[in-house]
């Protein structure tokens, strides 16, 4: 924005002022060399992006109160054997029986109430994520209208709460273990064992300052749905009698068994919804079987909806305890296909070499990075960017972020499937001690997490790129936009000496408002973008059709809409001078505003979007002009323009990316629809970005390319 101002100031400076202010002169220089500046800035922006793995800093624990690992673990083998007994009881139940789920819940509740903690059931109806055009813009609580769904499917979570003996009960720490009560799964039983071992220890300790909630989430309808609905009920009490009555009547009709069971245990199990204080942090614990690992590993998943991340301190604590206390290998997800790219390795070698040369010149300069580190970092960074850009939570922890609770999913995978009880106990001991340590650290917190970063990208479990660093690359990438917009605007609105009217007449010319017609066009195309983004809501209502059919209907309707718009707004007048410059200027300004907004909402989307849109917008120039010019430069530009506008079309871009990652073998038109459906089902802002910024700007670029000037 500043550049625009500067440059407009420059444009406004009347010629009789010999020496404008320095800032104005700087603006004039920048604008008159906008081509050079934009090439330099864009290149620097892309280079800065590839330097990010090198610029990553080691994580450190920023909040002093956390003090991870300062206390020795109190977990004993008794806790573990008790936990194993519970796991055996759970798995020994016949999984085929219809009421096995209820029986398992009863067993679990029995064990919990034997510990002397409060136990409760939480019944919920899993909500299907549905696209609602307004949910993007409304505040969190308005999307919670309870629909009168069918009563046939519901889930029941088991919740145990330990009240901190000497605290006022205003804060709580949440442990979540997803568990499918209907099925027998050894790994889920293992996670229950770990959870129970920690929970039984915590029910005895005296140092608790926060209540502990253990949520055994019924995962038969998905892990996320059960956790999300429990959180909703926890945070938003239902006061209106009608809706709660509706839900209850549902359960009464269908779940006689459970009611009977509750009447048996009435003394210990409360029927109402139990709450503790505000949540300081939440840990989701999962155990998975992954074949072919060299050691026990811990995978950390942190991305919540729209690229939100938990406070970095939480990841730091887990990482510190897992690596330095329990000797687990900590992993974050990475793009394996990046490791196969040759040019990344070459780039890594080059950077390594440069770092070495710099180090030999001056030992103080230590920015070298070994090639494998660089490639690993790039792969992790790419995954981190991709996950954040999708805006889809990577696990049940995402539900917590919607209520401003920091949460991560810890996925522990043992080296082998343990058959030996001793080895198995040792694995449980290590995992449980990790959880215990994290809980103990969080328990020390005086305030909620605030010290460390919320905006960062991970390049390895112990390395991160903070917002201050990655924003530089982005800023460099988008900086040419206002500059070029301003220079185009000035060019298009230069006073034309030939058409100047007689001086002595009062001429009201609306020349400075000429951009309005361009703005009208841009507005029309963006309105079309809104129309296209809303279409899937209606298309998805069509019964019995495949994703491929959906995509084809969507595509044809959108094209039809565009054609209609074109026919309505088509002007038969001869194109005026400076028309396409004005149009390009307005388009670039809109792209700039859109990217700026998106970088605040979800940085990763904006970064990836800028990589495509910035060159597309900057290079766009009517093909007619280039063809008329017929020089090497213009042919190069034509080639670039055609290539970029081909790739920038969202479906093409999607399939190209998919092909690069997974090979161009089997492509299905429906896949794009399925992918977008997942975006809108999770209310990802990326969907809005694609529909309302990317697609209209792509159309406008195309329009400029085909402009008849």
């Amino acid at each position: 924005m500043a550049e625009v101002e500067k440059k407009e100031v420059a444009a406004a400076t009347p010629p009789w002022k010999p020496k404008p202010r320095p800032i104005v002169r700087l603006g004039i220089v920048l604008i008159s060399h906008s081509l050079l500046v934009s090439v330099v800035c864009c290149t620097a922006g892309v280079v800065a992006l590839f330097l990010l793995p090198m610029l990553a800093k080691n994580t450190y624990i920023s909040e002093n109160a956390l003090m991870p690992g300062s206390a020795s673990s109190m977990l004993s083998n008794d806790d573990i054997s008790e936990a194993e007994r519970l796991a055996k009881d759970l798995t020994s139940l016949n999984s085929g029986a219809a009421d096995a789920g209820i029986e398992r819940r009863r067993v679990l509740a029995k064990y919990l109430s034997d510990l002397g903690v409060e136990v409760g059931y939480h019944k919920f109806e899993p909500h299907q994520n549905q696209f609602h055009p307004l949910h993007f813009f409304s505040s969190p609580d308005s999307g919670l209208s309870r629909e009168n769904g069918s009563c046939s499917s519901y889930g029941i979570n088991v919740v145990g709460i330990i009240r901190a003996p000497q605290a006022d009960g205003k804060e709580a720490i949440v442990l979540v273990t997803p568990f499918n009560f209907r099925k027998n799964s050894s790994s889920e039983a293992l996670s229950i064992s770990i959870g129970y071992a920690v929970f039984s220890l915590l029910s005895r300790v005296t140092w608790l300052a926060k209540d502990i909630i253990w949520l055994v989430a019924d995962s038969q309808y998905g892990e996320y749905a059960s956790v999300a609905s429990w959180l909703r009920d926890y945070h938003i009490p239902v006061f209106s009698a009608s809706s709660s009555h509706n839900a209850d009547s549902c359960f009464e009709g269908n779940n006689i068994n459970l009611l009977r069971e509750e009447s048996l245990d009435r003394t210990e199990i409360s029927s109402g919804f139990r709450r503790a204080g505000t949540m300081a942090a939440a840990l989701v614990l999962k155990v998975t079987d992954v074949k072919g690992q060299l050691e026990d590993t811990l995978s950390v998943y942190a991305e919540a909806s729209n690229g939100q991340m938990p406070n970095l301190d939480l990841i730091n604590v887990v990482n510190y305890l897992a690596v330095h206390r329990q000797g687990l290998r900590v992993k974050v997800e990475k793009f394996l296909s990046v490791l196969r790219w040759e040019w990344i390795w070459v780039l890594g070698d080059t950077l390594n070499f440069i770092g070495k040369v710099a180090g030999s010149l001056n030992p103080e300069w230590k920015f070298g990075i070994s090639t494998p580190d660089y490639v690993e970092g790039t792969a992790t960074l790419a995954n981190s960017l991709y996950r954040q850009a999708l805006g889809i939570p990577t696990g049940p922890h995402g539900a917590f972020r919607d209520f401003q609770v920091d949460a991560i999913t810890l996925e522990i995978s043992p080296k082998v499937v343990y058959t030996n009880q001793g080895r198995r106990n040792e694995f449980i001991l290590r995992s449980a001690r990790l959880i215990e340590g994290v809980v103990r650290s969080v328990n020390n917190l005086l305030e909620k997490f605030h010290q460390s970063f919320f905006l960062y990208l991970l390049t390895s479990p112990a390395k991160f790129v903070s917002v201050g660093v990655y924003m530089i690359g982005f800023a460099l990438l988008v900086a040419p936009l206002p500059l070029v917009a301003a220079s185009l605007y000035v060019d298009a609105n230069k006073p034309d000496p030939s058409s100047q009217g007689p001086k002595h007449k009062l001429q009201i010319n609306f020349k400075p408002w000429k951009w309005l017609s361009a703005a009208k066009q841009v507005f029309t195309v963006h309105a079309w973008g809104v129309f296209v983004s809303l279409l899937p809501y209606f298309i998805s209502q069509i019964p019995n059709s495949t994703p491929a059919a959906h995509s084809i209907i969507w595509f044809s309707l959108s094209t039809f809409g565009l054609l209609v718009l074109y026919l309505i707004t088509k002007s038969h007048s001869k194109p005026q001078k400076g028309e396409w410059e004005n149009l390009k200027s307005v388009t670039i300004s809109v792209v700039f505003i859109g990217l700026l907004l998106m970088s605040v909402v979800n940085f990763a989307t904006a970064q990836i979007g800028a990589l495509v849109l910035v060159p597309a917008c900057l290079l766009a120039q009517p093909l007619k002009l280039d063809i008329r010019d017929a020089s090497l430069k213009s042919f190069l530009r034509i080639a670039c323009n055609v290539f970029i506008s081909f790739v920038a079309f969202p479906p093409v871009g999607f399939f190209v990316l998919k092909g690069v990652n997974e090979g161009f073998g089997d492509m299905d038109v429906g896949e794009f629809w399925t992918w977008l459906e997942s975006l809108w089902a999770w209310n990802s802002a990326t969907y809005i970005y694609i529909g309302m910024v990317h697609l209209p700007c792509w159309v406008l670029c195309l329009h400029i390319l085909l402009h008849s000037c």
Binding site: E5, H135, S139, L506, Q507, N509, S517, H526, I593, V600
Partner: protein, 480 residues
């Protein structure tokens, strides 16, 4: 807010498209009203009435409903620092807030009142624009500057201003978001209309009501007086064309010297003290009337003194520091308590300091002066909302002919669009996500203030340039 971008572009594109006369205006006004009604009937998912950009402590309908409830339960409506508006508004809108029609969104009646207020405002703006344009033409004619090329009969600035007001997303959001600013704006516009048409009672009534509702329009008394008493741009009586004004009076003098034998009276433009007195009498009459009504309204549970404390006092002492799009809340949240009074005086006198110089420089264009005052006060007022911006952006359209050469129009447009989209996102980042903080949101408020400053500075300088151009042209004609 997400549609703000599109609508603003729409409204601006009106500028170009709508060259058709009255028919075009009526059609677009009807569409605007239908659009508002559609938004009102929309499922209440937008939650506009709780947005800080739309409803301030002074204009929120929820607070008004609370005040009405307090009053109904025999308490002072001002108890508990909830309501800070006028008791008259409470009496008029209060009963409407509790009326529910089965199957309709709540507050439907209030919404209809606001839609009506918007419609009337736009009609008044259009009428004011007509008057201004006639005066402008006359003055051009008197300077022999009116030629065919300037006589762009199809393009009426009044129509455009009215449509800009109606279709401005800020106006729409303020209206649909149930803030009382449409009513406040209506009275401000009524003042200007009264002054432009030379109806002293109407101008005085509008001024008294606008001041009563939101205090800041009090400074409009100067342009109203200039406009009414000086008859600068519209002669209430058939005086000689020289009176009608446009360019600075110097020009007329030189012109008089040039053609002495013209037979026309060589009077200067006179500031008529008789007319000032006339206006003041009406003003005091209406003030007394409004005060009596207020005292009747608050008599049972409070006093006039309490009313002044809770309305004007609340505005002047900036008690409520909840975030809004203005610049004062953050400052007074940070400032040490013992400096508070000092800075209160500094900030409020900021507006007052600008009154006199502007009045001297722009005295020949009272309506434009009023626009500048409104823009400045909506920038520096203690609880600004988008409704205030809607008012001055609408009035800006009135000076289309004069401001045609304005610089930075594109830059300002982008700035307004960008800030109005960025501000809710920053608010969300701070309040809901917790990853941002107050500085993020305040940064957009400062950017917004900067854009407003640029707008005011640019419009004033291009208006003065326009006047200079007129002077130059007419003197060159005289010399021929």
């Amino acid at each position: 807010m997400p549609t703000a971008n599109t609508e603003e572009e729409n409204s601006k594109s009106e500028l170009q498209k709508n060259h058709g006369g009255g028919g075009g205006f009526t059609r677009w006004a009807v569409v605007a009203v239908i659009f508002r009604l559609a938004l009102i009937y929309f499922p209440g998912n937008l939650n506009l009435s709780s947005r800080p950009e739309v409803s301030t402590p002074l204009t929120s309908i929820r607070r008004l409903a609370e005040g009405y409830w307090l009053k109904q339960s025999s308490m002072s409506p001002y108890a508990g620092s909830m309501y800070h508006g006028s008791p008259l508004l409470l009496s008029v809108l209060g009963p409407l807030t509790v009326k529910r029609i089965e199957g309709q969104p709540s507050h439907i009646l209030c919404s209809l009142v606001f839609v009506l207020a918007d419609l009337i405002s736009s009609i008044l703006i259009r009428a004011t624009g007509r008057k201004l344009q006639i005066a402008y033409r006359k003055s051009l004619k008197s300077l022999n500057l009116l030629n065919k090329s300037t006589d762009s009969g199809a393009l009426s600035s009044g129509d455009i201003a009215a449509l800009v007001y109606l279709w401005n997303p800020f106006t729409i959001v303020a209206c649909v978001g149930l803030s009382t600013s449409p009513v406040e704006n209506l009275f401000t516009i009524l003042t200007l209309y009264g002054a432009a048409t030379g109806l002293a009672p109407l101008a005085a009534f509008g001024w008294v009501m606008a001041t009563h509702l939101s205090l800041y329009p009090a400074i409009l008394i100067i342009p109203v007086n200039l406009s009414y008493s000086g008859s600068w741009f519209y002669p209430p009586a058939p005086l000689s064309p020289e009176y009608t004004y446009a360019p600075p009076s110097k020009l007329f003098r030189s012109k008089e010297h040039g053609k002495v034998g013209d037979g026309k009276s060589s009077q200067e433009i006179i500031f008529s003290w008789r007319r000032v007195f006339h206006l003041l009498v009406w003003t005091s009459l209406w003030s007394v009337y409004v005060l009596v009504l207020c005292s009747i309204s608050v008599k049972q549970h409070g006093s006039l003194q309490e009313m002044f404390q809770r309305t004007y006092g609340f505005i002047l002492t900036v008690e409520d520091l909840s975030p809004n799009i203005g610049v004062l809340w953050y400052f007074f949240a940070e400032v040490f308590d013992f400096f508070r009074d000092f800075f209160l005086i500094v900030f409020h006198s900021n507006i007052l300091f600008m009154i006199l110089p502007l009045a001297i420089r722009l005295k020949h264009r009272p309506c434009f002066l009023a626009f500048v005052y409104i823009a400045i006060s909506s920038m520096l007022k203690s609880y600004p909302s988008v409704g205030d911006s809607a008012l001055y952006l609408g009035l800006l359209g009135l000076f289309l002919d004069e401001l045609a050469d304005m610089q930075f129009s594109f830059f300002l447009f982008c700035g307004y669009v960008g800030v109005s989209l960025l501000s809710p996102v920053m608010h969300n980042l701070w309040i809901w996500r917790g990853t941002g903080n107050a500085n993020f949101y305040y940064a957009t408020a400062m950017a917004y203030a900067c854009f407003q400053i640029v707008l005011v500075v640019e419009s004033v300088s291009s208006m003065l340039n326009h006047d200079r151009k007129l002077t130059k042209l007419s003197t060159s004609k005289l010399q021929k």
